[in-house]
Every structure is written in structure tokens, then in C-alpha cells.
């Protein structure tokens, strides 16, 4: 290579490079060709403004390329796409940069987790964050790693928590301003949860909010004796951010032990809650606890969906939340005020809300050694997989489970959980009927909780939901189908059999004016576009 020529084109390059600034992330909707953060925008809506693929032509979708992961773990990551480059994670923590139009690999960053790394529920990763030209990934051994997005070269690697004490990181970080925010998983195996922010340039920790208050802090009294120290309240899904209030919202996991709360009497704050933190300081501004003193493993680790809508005649900044406990909520995201709650699946553990929005428990609906029929069962009316909100339709779309099962305690683990198998990467045979429980995509009017439509699947679902500006909805399920629905009616418009469970949230991007839809199923990432 001629050196003079090299100098010239390097100099030119420095002028042309466009970094992903936080302003771009904050206004990600203005560049719909990209997908700059886990849910598309910091609002958590998983809504794409792209509209090239429509209800009329979606039947012409065809496979463009496939990325086969060298991993037998579930592929749960949502990719990022920045100016034609797609970044994803091959579980547990290998980062791959691909051409978003062809699927050809630019670079791979392999990561070997420390041998003590342990995840309670699968060696998975749900994605990355980006700021500038740096990618950020939390690892199974509880580190935060910064990578050069152009080359995959590691820039820094900091220890977030001790993997030897069962801390891990499985979700995509959230970038807010100059900080990378994430939390730790491991709530079922005895961690004390937290959310922490790190300087995006150096990895230096800026703040840490413990999701279980320590001695002397408000809420500590909701734990007995030393139960708070390993009480869970983990973080394993990405939070949202509201620039107007500078609040970042995170859902917390269940208290631990999961199904036996006798040694942790009390509400067990801030488990099964949404916490609203000042993004600069990590200070708690408000919280709402969905399931006080949970004994059904009702993690509240869903994505907080932020929307601005008219509420009883007044514009209001709200938060939509379909919870694993089977209830759909609308909260005022400025104050945390409970506005509304209603079951979105069959629920028998509560009978309504008191005036403060606290659920009223139904006596006897707790796990017992003999078993108790509790709806929904431990895997919930929904789970971690991300929902969607379309500002066009004003509807809230939720992957749901209607299931029945008896939750019984036996040696600290539930048994006889009925029709509630865990997700896997591969397909299996299915012998159950829909009467024994089924999966569905459901559309709700968030102002009333009214269900507008339902698309039923024979089997349950671990797939998230994407909506687009052409009134399309994409989702899938455990049966390995990936499909498109009319998001106003729920009518099936297109489907493809991908040969593996869809355990991820779909997303959309475009390259050179061509819209793509991407989803992970089994051990692979699939992309579709119009032929």
C-alpha cells in the first residue's frame, strides 16, 4: 500500500465518519433505516416507522440471508443496525458485525466467560448498546465490555459484579447521555439486584442503585433478618428512558427464594417493581410494585413502554406494562401514579386493586406443598419478551400465555406446573391441546384495557412483537413460525416456518431504501425483504 495514499484516505475518513451520538439515539425515530437501541428507541415501543412492507405486499416477503450462530444456546438478541452494519451477539457473548444487506461478516469478537459464570436460566444474551463508535455488552460473567464498532477490538473490560456469587448480565445495556446503564441477573440463585451506570468512555462506575434497600434505607424493613442480602430483584431486561424527566425505568425480578416466602415476610421491596431513577445520579424518584411479596416468580422484567396519549381528556405521559403476573398496567411515568390495571390473561391470584393500586390477594392462592391452582403459572401471562406499542393504532400488543397449572413447593422448586415448559432453541413435538393452554398475540386499547383482537397459537410463545408504520405486526412462537399480522385486525397475512423456536423480538431496518425484517429463531438470525 502506498503510504501517501493511505495518509490521504485516512484524513478523508476522519471527516466522513458519523458517530452514533446520544442525540441520534434519542431521536432514533428520525432515522428509521437504523435500529440504534434494544427496543428501537429509548421509549421501548419496538415500533418501526418503515412502511415499505405493507399488508398488501407482505405476502411477497422472502428470505434474504441467514446467520447461523456457532452456539446451541437460545438466540434471544435483538440486533442493532447502524448505517448498513448489523451487530448482534452469538450466545453467550461473541459479538458479530455483519453487512445488513448480505449477512456477510465484517468481524467477530469472541469472548470466553470465566469458568465461574453461571446463569440461572440459559446462557443467553439479548443484545448490545452503542454510543459513538463503541459497542457495549454485558457478559455472563458479569463484566461490561466496550468494543470498537469498526473492528471489534476490545477497548476496555470492567467487572460489574462477582460471577462467583452468581451475578451475570444477560440483557442489552441502555445508553443514556454519556453513560451505559445495566443491571445484574441471578435473582433465582441468590444475588442482591442492582442497576448501575458506567462512564461510556472509560467504564468507570458512576452510580449504583440496589434494587433491595440496605440497612437504614427506606424499604429495608420489608425484608426479614438477612433475607435481603440474597433476595433477588434482579435485572434481566433493558430499561427505558424519558428525556423530559431524565428518568430511566427498569423492571425488577422476583424475590428469592422464588416460591417460598416464609423466610422473607413483607413486601420485599423493590422486587417485582418498576423503579424510576434519575439517569444522572441513580437516585430513586418513584417506584410501583406490581406483585408485593411474590411467591409465584412473577418477575417484572418486561420492557417499560413509554407513550404520550390523551388520558381522560388530558395529555399524559404514561407507561404501559404487561406484567408476568397476568395484569396490564398504565402508570403516570412522571409521578408513578397508578392509573389503571386489568388482567390481560386469566388471573386468579388477585381480585382487584385498592385505591392506591395495590393488588388485593385471593386467600389461598399461594404455592403449597400440596399444590395450588394459580393463574397464571410461574412462567406468567407474558414473560421477558418485548411487547410493542404503535402510535398509529394506539394499541398495545402483547405476547401472552393462557395457561393453567398447579404450583406446588417441593424442596424450594415448583412441581406440576402444568403447561408451562421453558423455552428452548429447537423445535419439539407437541401433544397438548389449546384447551390445556395456548399462546397468543393480543392487542389492547391501553385506555380501557379492552382486548381488540387475539391471534391464537396452539403452542405458547417466547417471541416479542414488532409493529410498523404500515400497520403490520411481526411475531412468532415456540412452534417455529414467524408471521405477519394486520395490527388493526389480527388477521394473518404471511408466515414462514423457521425450524426453531422464536425466542427474540423482531426488528426492522433498511439499506439503500430496502426494508428488512430480522428475527432470531433456533440458533440463527433470519432476515426478510420483499422480492
Amino acid at each position: 500500500m502506498n503510504r501517501r495514499w493511505l495518509l490521504l484516505f485516512v484524513a478523508a475518513g476522519s471527516l466522513l465518519c458519523q458517530d452514533v451520538t446520544f442525540d441520534r439515539i434519542l431521536h432514533a425515530r428520525d432515522e428509521p433505516q437504523n435500529w440504534l437501541t434494544y427496543s428501537g428507541t429509548v421509549l421501548g415501543q419496538r415500533y418501526s416507522p418503515l412502511a415499505q412492507i405493507t399488508p398488501a405486499n407482505v405476502k411477497n416477503l422472502e428470505l434474504q440471508w441467514v446467520f447461523q450462530a456457532r452456539s446451541l444456546e437460545k438466540f434471544e438478541a435483538t440486533p442493532l443496525v447502524v448505517d448498513g452494519v448489523l451487530y448482534t451477539v452469538q450466545a453467550p457473548n461473541d459479538v458479530i458485525a455483519l453487512d445488513a444487506a448480505t449477512g456477510r461478516i465484517f468481524w467477530t469478537y469472541p469472548y470466553n466467560n470465566a469458568k465461574e459464570a453461571r446463569a440461572c436460566c440459559g446462557n443467553v444474551n439479548r443484545g448490545l448498546a452503542i454510543l459513538g463508535d463503541t459497542l457495549y455488552m454485558g457478559t455472563l460473567d458479569a463484566h461490561l465490555i466496550a468494543l470498537d464498532a469498526k473492528t471489534g477490538r476490545p477497548l476496555w473490560n470492567v467487572k460489574v459484579a462477582n460471577a462467583g456469587e452468581n451475578y451475570s448480565i444477560t440483557h442489552a445495556p441502555l445508553v443514556v447521555k454519556d453513560k451505559v446503564i445495566l443491571g445484574a441477573a441471578g435473582g433465582d440463585i441468590g444475588i442482591r439486584g442492582f442497576i448501575a451506570a458506567f462512564d461510556a468512555a472509560t467504564g468507570k462506575e458512576i452510580w449504583r442503585f440496589h434494587t433491595i434497600p440496605g440497612p437504614g434505607e427506606p424499604g429495608h424493613e420489608t425484608w426479614k433478618d438477612e433475607s435481603w442480602q440474597k433476595g433477588g430483584a434482579a435485572i434481566w431486561n433493558t430499561g427505558s428512558y424519558d428525556a423530559a424527566t431524565n428518568l430511566t425505568f427498569w423492571g425488577t425480578g422476583n424475590p428469592q427464594p422464588d416460591w417460598d416466602g416464609r423466610n422473607r415476610p413483607g413486601d420485599n421491596l423493590y422486587s417485582d417493581s418498576v423503579v424510576a431513577l434519575d439517569a444522572d445520579t441513580g437516585k430513586l424518584k418513584w417506584f410501583y410494585q406490581f406483585t408485593p411479596h411474590d411467591e409465584m416468580d412473577y418477575d417484572s422484567t418486561q420492557v417499560a413502554v413509554l407513550a404520550d396519549m390523551e388520558w381522560k381528556g388530558q395529555p399524559r405521559k404514561v407507561m404501559l406494562w404487561a406484567n408476568r403476573n397476568g395484569l396490564m398496567y398504565v402508570l403516570d411515568r412522571v409521578t408513578g401514579q397508578f392509573l389503571f390495571g386489568k388482567p390481560f390473561v386469566d388471573v386468579n391470584w388477585m381480585s382487584g386493586f385498592d385505591e392506591k393500586g395495590r393488588p388485593m390477594r385471593v386467600p389461598g392462592k399461594v404455592p403449597t406443598p400440596e399444590g395450588a391452582l394459580i393463574k397464571p403459572t410461574v412462567l406468567g401471562g407474558t414473560n421477558w419478551y418485548p411487547p410493542s406499542y404503535s402510535p398509529r393504532t394506539g394499541l398495545f400488543y402483547v405476547s401472552s400465555w393462557e395457561n393453567t397449572g398447579t404450583v406446588a413447593t417441593e424442596g424450594g422448586r415448583p412441581k406440576g406446573t402444568g403447561n408451562a415448559p421453558m423455552g428452548a432453541a429447537t423445535l419439539g413435538t407437541n401433544l397438548k391441546t389449546e384447551e390445556e393452554g395456548y399462546g397468543a398475540v393480543r392487542a389492547f386499547d391501553p385506555k380501557t384495557g379492552e382486548r381488540k383482537w387475539e391471534y391464537k397459537m396452539n403452542d405458547i410463545t417466547w417471541a416479542g412483537v414488532l409493529t410498523t408504520a404500515s400497520d403490520l405486526l411481526f411475531s412468532g412462537g415456540r412452534e417455529g413460525y414467524f408471521f405477519a399480522l394486520d395490527d388493526r385486525t389480527g388477521q394473518l397475512l404471511w408466515k414462514a416456518a423457521l425450524g426453531g423456536q422464536v425466542n427474540s423480538g423482531p426488528m426492522s431496518y433498511s439499506v439503500n431504501g430496502r426494508q428488512y425484517i430480522a428475527v432470531c429463531a433456533g440458533n440463527a438470525l433470519f432476515t426478510f425483504a420483499l422480492r
Binding site: 503510504r3 458485525a97 465484517f106
Partner: protein
């Protein structure tokens, strides 16, 4: 591949029996073996033995000085099996990788000594970033170009004598990961950059604007690899002290990542 980390506990001069005699080459090995071995050494051995292989008491790879090792077979055996009862652990990498590690360790004491005096890393940084214009092609941390080899941790990958040689000699062909490629699209646009991937139908590069690009070959009018290295000899561009300072600076670059 955790040898390096586990070796870090090795302390004290009297842990192992010292066999101070220099070990001479018994096998032939290629430059590629040494290159592979250098990477494995960096990942597994560097943490305790250091870049010059002289950080474990009684051992100095640069001088061919080992503990209870008398042949290449002995050396491979120690690399693969460790030394029971000492902090030297068995390798966790496949057996066939023992050979390149041995090759690299052996290369550390091969003939070819430094010719430059000792340098000053602080002054070397100024030369590196100024008169030497090294950042125009290389990157250190978050500064410089991504098109040439990233030198952020070169001090852990290369010994001072190797760095010195790289500065003084005219570079040969670049290693595969730093090959350059030039394409001209059918509409006449020219792109040059670092080759990242290549297959029957496509070419992937980091272009001169440091943008990741993929091209369908059917969209190209011209496509060629640039096989010569852009690395010049600095023998006549920097004086002896400047060269020595730059070597010292590069030897000090051990990366910023921590784990």
C-alpha cells in the same frame, strides 16, 4: 486458555529447580508457528512470564533459561501438562497448540539482538504521534487509524527486539488480517481499505473513511488485493535515539482492557 491468569500466583525464587543451561533449538518451525505462538503466549503466558519471558524467578526465555527443561519435548510437556505441585498449570488449549507456543518461546532466545540503546517511553510517545506519524496508519487505544495494525497492546505481543526490527527493516507482505483491497464499482466509484472478508460473491472491507462496506462482485468493475505493506523503514527517518524511544514506548503498550 487460562494459563496466564493462573500463573500469576507464581512468586518466590526457590519454588522450582533451576536448570540454567540455555536450551537450543531442536525442531524447525515456521514464522507462522511463531506468530501463532505469540498470540497464544499473549493470551496464556504473558500475564506471569511477561513480554520478555523473564518475570518468573529463575526463568528467562530471552536467554533460553528454563527450569527443569532440557529439550523441546520437555518444553512442550511443561506447556501442556504444567508442573504439578507448582503454580504452573496444565494448558486448557488443545495439544496441537503446544508446538507454536514452544516455537515462540524458543524464538525469544534466537540470535538477533537489539542494536538500539535504551529509550524513553515518554519521549517515544511524542515521536510516535508526531514526527513518526505512526497514528496515520496505526491505532493506540481510541486514537489513530484502524487501517493498519492496532498497536494498543503491541508491548505484550512483541518483544523489544522485534519492535526494533519492525522499525528498521522494510516490511514484507502484511499479515492476512491487514491486507488492503481496492475496488471500483461499475459506476466508477473507487474504494480502498482493509480487507475484512472475501467470498465467491462478495468483498468486505473497512474503507478509507473507516466505514464498513460490503460489495457484490457483480457490482464491481475492478477488484484487486494490494499485497505490499505500507510500513516503511524508519532507519533513515528517525535518529537512533528517536528510534530507541519509540521502541520503548511501543514496548510499554499493554492494552487498556482489564478483566
Amino acid at each position: 486458555m487460562m494459563i496466564g491468569m493462573r500463573l500469576c500466583n507464581l512468586t518466590g525464587a526457590g519454588l522450582l529447580l533451576l536448570a540454567a543451561a540455555a536450551l537450543h533449538a531442536q525442531h524447525s518451525y515456521t514464522a507462522a508457528d511463531v506468530e501463532d505462538g505469540a498470540r497464544l503466549y499473549q493470551a496464556n503466558c504473558f500475564g506471569c512470564h511477561g513480554p520478555e519471558g523473564n518475570q518468573v524467578p529463575g526463568v528467562n526465555f530471552s536467554r533460553g533459561q528454563f527450569l527443569s527443561v532440557k529439550s523441546d519435548e520437555d518444553l512442550q510437556s511443561v506447556i501442556l501438562k504444567g508442573i504439578p505441585g507448582t503454580p504452573m498449570p496444565a494448558a486448557t488449549f488443545p495439544q496441537f497448540m503446544g508446538f507454536p507456543v514452544m516455537a515462540y518461546v524458543r524464538s525469544m532466545s534466537a540470535p538477533g539482538q537489539r542494536t538500539l540503546p535504551d529509550g524513553d517511553a515518554g519521549r517515544g510517545k511524542l515521536v510516535f504521534e508526531g514526527k513518526g506519524e505512526c497514528l496515520n496508519c496505526h491505532r493506540v487505544g481510541v486514537r489513530g487509524s484502524r487501517l493498519g495494525p492496532d498497536l494498543s497492546d503491541i508491548g505484550g505481543l512483541r518483544r523489544a527486539v522485534q519492535l526494533e526490527r519492525a522499525l528498521l527493516e522494510t516490511a514484507r507482505a502484511p499479515s492476512p488480517e491487514y491486507r488492503s483491497v481496492r475496488v471500483v464499482t461499475k459506476d466508477g466509484k473507487e474504494y480502498k481499505g482493509r480487507l475484512l472478508n472475501l467470498d465467491t460473491f462478495t468483498v468486505e472491507m473497512l474503507d478509507s473513511a473507516e466505514r464498513l462496506r460490503s460489495f457484490l462482485k457483480t457490482d464491481l468493475r475492478e477488484y484487486s488485493l494490494i499485497t505490499n505493506s505500507g510500513m516503511p523503514s524508519y532507519k533513515d527517518k528517525l535518529n537512533t535515539q528517536e528510534l530507541a524511544d519509540v521502541v520503548s514506548y511501543m514496548a510499554s503498550l499493554k492494552g487498556t482492557g482489564t478483566k
